[in-house]
């Protein structure tokens, strides 16, 4: 009888020991998963912020690309609106001055938008060698 009781007590002790070991393992796993979750959440947060930033940049780019078409659209509208041949026959001096002014403005604009300090890459980059081969 005593032996049976001792064996039962020993079994119960081992069972509790095993449960405690499993609990420790589970706690360690939970801690690791919490760290992994925090890392994932941080990554997700950064990804969302980056996605939003790129979305804003993309929206700005689309607006700028459309704005660049404005000059051509205006020119097409002007040419459609006026009969240049008729105007040239009627008032050649006036039309010549306007055309010259518009041409001068176009050269100035082209010079301005291709200037190195106007959003373009620095000319310092690249090779100094003038040989094109």
């Amino acid at each position: 009888m005593i032996l049976v009781l001792l064996a039962g007590a020993g079994g119960a002790f081992m069972y509790v020991k095993n449960l405690q070991a499993n609990l420790e393992t589970a706690r360690a796993n939970v801690a690791k998963m919490e760290v992994a979750l925090a890392t994932s959440e941080q990554s997700l947060k950064l990804e969302r912020a980056e996605s939003q930033r790129l979305g804003e940049l993309n929206g700005k780019l689309q607006g700028d690309l459309q704005k660049a078409e404005q000059y051509g659209d205006e020119l097409r509208a002007t040419l459609q609106k006026h009969n240049l041949t008729h105007l040239a026959n009627k008032k050649p001096g006036l039309i010549e001055k306007r055309m010259q002014d518009a041409t001068n403005k176009l050269w100035d604009d082209l010079e301005s938008i291709t200037a190195p300090d106007n959003g373009m890459q620095s000319t310092d980059s690249g090779t100094k060698d003038s040989n094109s081969n």
Partner: protein
């Protein structure tokens, strides 16, 4: 800009200035095409610039956000 009205005047002025009566003329239609082509060139340059600026901003490293406590 030369039309029937000022053609003779143009020839006189041109010869006085350049000493010859040979010149290159462009029709109104061709002038319109030329101006439209320049507008396209300008649009292309401006759009390429905007795309370069976009990529420069897109790949620019951001400041590291402060760590949450």
């Amino acid at each position: 800009m030369v039309s029937k009205e000022n053609y003779n005047e143009f020839v006189k002025e041109f010869e006085a200035k350049n000493g010859a009566d040979a010149y290159i003329a462009i029709s109104v239609k061709d002038y319109e095409n030329l101006s439209l082509n320049f507008a396209e060139l300008r649009r292309y340059i401006e759009q390429q610039k905007q795309i370069i600026v976009y990529y420069e901003n897109a790949v620019k490293p951001e400041d590291t956000p402060p760590k949450e406590k």
